[in-house]
């Protein structure tokens, strides 16, 4: 069946009215999060169980909506039941019959499935009451809860594509451009370059056609904000892209998505097809006379392909390696044509700016950074998940109010922002208001928004080694400072962690870092030394302990620790002896055991298995 295309702005309004009229708000609607986190917890089974149960119990009309990521991945699978808005966390298939019979049918609340505030023990019914959500400003993620990403009608019902209609019928491309410039929207991919200025450069550049590109090649360890937006609300990105294309005067766009994000690829493909079907994409969009085609490109998933010039070379079908950017990609990019590349989150902000205006947008955030930013809060924090906060919020608010504090009530040590190329920020700076400029001042960066929280049991040298090793694997190897420098950096850090560190290593690391920052070809190399530089800056004593005293202060680096048995505490229970995978522990029942240091591989199982704290780490 070919659908009647939307031919004007009023057609869109009519369609919206029609969709809304079809939906009775009184009919119960069960939304189940099927973001990647919740899927891993088995939300797909919950959906199937719900469908069966609703049928078995003959409830009549009940909507079951499978949505994108809600954000609170720590407590998945998440189920929200409307019209009451009851939020259940950690739902299992066994809970489904109760949910259907008690909540959906009777409207009763099942206490055991509610979120319990860990400090007060209070049960919280609504999502908005859960501290994780309460302290956020959810502009982009808000709709993830409400729409089925595979159904364009959900998006249109919430006012979707009205920004596009406004741009096409009420504004000239120049006005759209001015609005985005006035909003001071800065690139969310990490660099923070003003999107409006980039658009303008592309618009004014010579050469046709011009291209617009969505960068969804997110590859930081522990970061998944782009993925969740692309999976949960692809239309918001597509709408932003079309508006951008209109402002720039581009007839063609690409959405560059990682192959490793199959759900994002699937949902985006469906969304593009639906947008075409409704006449929101393709020739003569909404009857305005503006043509724009968009295609999805599945990337081979190299970290460096997220860099703009590397992404464009990859799009051209070549090896994804960066090129020198002395002439900007906005002037000479994809196939040598002016190309405007923005991050998923940047594009998703565009419809908001057009609908609500630049003045509204600039009212959120700090002097230099406007709007909100999505962070993926992971690591040793109680509530992990995606958080959207206004720029200028402090790290303490994110970690303690939203994140609920450190796991196991341990002491906070540092937070790594900006992924592997960012830096670790220590506790003394936790009250800094974060935006693009502040984070750069601290030696870290905004990056695409990864936020890895580390507790007191983390060795910062080990952390630096981990990130450098990640980058060694991901460096394309084109230029000398990045390829050779990173490998050498990894060698030095490994030596330090294994007790082979020498006097002068720190100076050498600093020298190397400076040259890498100065001379590398692309952003990967110039930011790669950040984890080393920030840990050197904020935790110099840890490096010194490793190098001079050959000691790891937090007992993480295996080569520098040994497990011993405290003869005074050992009861001779044989627990550690049986648990040791290497057979390194000898002893008889009720006699003090001994760990053979030569056989011990320092796995720590004996430490965990001893009930009397008799195993000690030295």
């Amino acid at each position: 069946m070919t659908r009647k295309k939307i031919k004007s702005s009023s057609d869109l309004d009519k369609l919206r009215q029609k969709i809304l009229a079809k939906r009775d708000p009184k009919i119960p609607c069960i939304t189940v999060c099927a973001g990647t986190g919740c899927q891993a917890y088995g939300s797909e089974n919950v959906v199937v169980a719900l469908q069966e149960e609703v049928e078995n119990q003959e409830l009549g009309k009940v909507y079951i909506r499978v949505t994108g990521c809600h954000g609170f991945c720590e407590r998945g699978p998440l189920v929200v039941i409307y019209p009451q808005g009851i939020c259940y966390t950690e739902v299992k298939t066994e809970d489904v019959p109760d949910i259907v019979s008690q909540t959906v049918r009777e409207g009763q609340i099942i206490d055991r499935l509610l979120y319990t505030e860990p400090n007060t023990g209070e049960k919280i019914v609504h999502e908005s009451g859960i501290p994780f959500y309460k302290y956020q400003t959810r502009l982009l993620l808000e709709n993830n809860l409400k729409i089925d990403p595979k159904n364009i009608e959900d998006y249109i019902a919430l006012g979707g594509y009205s920004a596009l209609a406004k741009a096409l019928f009420e504004m000239t491309p120049e006005q759209v451009l001015e609005e985005v410039k006035k909003a001071n929207l800065r690139g969310r991919g990490g660099g923070g370059f003003p999107a409006g200025r980039k658009w303008e450069t592309t618009r004014n550049a010579l050469g046709n056609p011009k291209y617009v590109i969505v960068n969804c090649d997110e590859g930081d360890p522990g970061a998944y904000m782009n993925r969740s937006l692309m999976e949960g609300n692809p239309h918001s990105v597509i709408e932003g892209l079309i508006i951008g294309a209109y402002a720039i005067g581009s007839p063609e766009g690409f959405i560059y998505v990682r192959e490793e994000y199959p759900l994002a690829v699937e949902n985006t493909s469906i969304a593009l097809a639906q947008a075409r079907e409704y006449g929101l994409l393709g020739k003569n969009i909404m009857g305005s006379g503006f043509d724009f085609a968009a295609k999805i490109h599945r990337s081979a998933g190299a970290f460096v392909s997220g860099e703009s010039s590397a992404l464009m070379t990859a799009l051209e079908g070549k090896v994804g390696e960066p090129k020198p950017k002395y002439v900007h990609t906005a002037v000479e990019g994809l196939w040598g044509k002016p190309s405007n590349l923005n991050n998923v989150e940047t594009w998703a902000n565009v419809p908001l700016i057009i609908t609500r205006g630049a003045d509204w947008f600039t009212s959120i955030g700090t002097e230099g950074s406007k709007g909100t930013k999505i962070f993926s809060l992971v690591g040793k924090v109680k509530n992990t998940g995606l958080v959207e906060v206004p720029m200028g919020i402090t790290l303490r608010e994110i970690i303690y109010n939203i994140g609920g504090g450190i796991l196991g009530n341990k002491k906070f040590k540092a937070v790594q922002t900006g992924g592997p190329s960012g830096g670790g920020i220590p506790e003394s700076l936790i009250d800094t208001a974060i935006d693009f400029d502040e984070l750069t001042k601290l030696g870290s960066m905004m990056g695409s928004g990864g936020m890895i929280v580390m507790d007191e049991a983390t060795c910062m040298v080990d952390v630096a080694k981990y990130f450098v090793n990640f980058l060694v694997e991901e460096s394309c190897g084109k230029c000398v400072p990045c390829r050779e420098g990173l490998e050498r950096m990894s060698e030095i850090l490994t030596a330090i962690c294994e007790g082979r560190g020498e006097e002068g290593d720190i100076k050498l690391l600093e020298e190397l870092a400076e040259v890498m920052k100065d001379a590398s070809l692309c952003g990967l190399g110039t930011t790669a030394p950040n984890p080393v530089l920030t840990t050197l800056r904020y935790f110099p004593d840890e490096y010194e302990a490793h190098i001079q005293e050959k000691r790891c202060p937090v007992h993480v680096c295996r080569a520098l620790i040994g497990y011993y048995i405290d003869a005074g505490k050992c009861t001779g229970c044989l627990a550690c002896l049986k648990a040791c995978p290497e057979g390194a522990i000898t002893g008889e029942k009720e006699e003090v055991h001994i760990i053979n240091q030569e056989k011990c591989n320092k796995c720590g199982i004996c430490y965990d298995s001893c009930k009397f704290d008799a195993v000690i780490i030295k």
Binding site: Y326, P481, E484, A519
Partner: protein, 222 residues
């Protein structure tokens, strides 16, 4: 014509020149490894970095592919530039210690030793052979494979390429495989094998290190 300032001297340059071409024209020596006049600039070895801009806002850029801009202020041998070049040579030398070209650079720049583990690789991945094969020989018989530290030059799928006419252009242009240094290879030290060829002049001229480039001083010394 554009006006730029190189090392404090105001000069006129052709519009289409790169900074390296401008510097070469005015006789300023900038070390290069992956640059060859007949090939597209690679910008990989980064040895040709120069400092542009003035005041506190200066940047390092590779001169081989940086187009000249009106009123650009360039410093080709500033402290920051030299520090960077020295580290780059040290990194390359640690990878490929037996290369004459790298030994020469090290000697000229005063790199006295290598602080990294020496690897004894044979290729510095400058990509000259790849570009030569593609751009001048029109064969595209070799290219880069793998990523990062595993990156290497090889024919596609590591099998002898049918496109290869064994013309030898890649051998001709390779900056490291010609004249391999045969000196004693003690780890982490610039080998200084050239000292066996020419009399050591270090005693007479403190700061002058003469390696394989026979410097006029050596002859004087004799």
């Amino acid at each position: 014509m554009k006006r730029i300032k190189i090392n404090g001297i105001s000069v006129q340059v052709e519009d289409h020149w790169t900074l390296l071409e401008a510097c070469k024209f005015y006789g300023i020596d900038i070390p290069t490894l992956c640059y060859y006049a007949g090939l597209s600039p690679g910008g990989l070895c980064r040895l040709c970095v120069v400092e542009i801009g003035k005041g506190e806002r200066t940047n390092l850029v590779t001169s081989c592919n940086y187009p000249v801009e009106e009123r650009l202020v360039v410093r080709t041998h500033s402290e920051r530039v030299m520090r960077t070049r020295k580290m780059l040579v040290e990194l390359l030398l640690a990878r490929c210690p037996s290369s004459k070209t790298l030994q020469d650079f090290a000697a000229k720049m005063g790199v006295q030793g290598v602080r990294f583990r020496v690897k004894h690789e044979t290729c510095i991945l400058c990509g000259l052979c790849v570009r030569m094969c593609a751009e001048q020989m029109r064969a595209r018989a070799i290219g880069f494979a793998s990523r990062g530290k595993d990156r290497r030059v090889t024919p596609p799928f590591d099998i002898k390429s049918e496109e290869c006419r064994t013309c030898g252009a890649c051998l001709f242009i390779c900056p490291v495989c010609q004249l391999r240094c045969q000196g004693p290879q003690s780890p982490n030290v610039v080998c200084g094998a050239c000292m066996n060829i020419e009399p050591v002049c270090l005693e007479k001229h403190e700061d002058v290190r003469c390696y394989l480039d026979t410097c006029g001083l050596c002859f004087k010394g004799r």
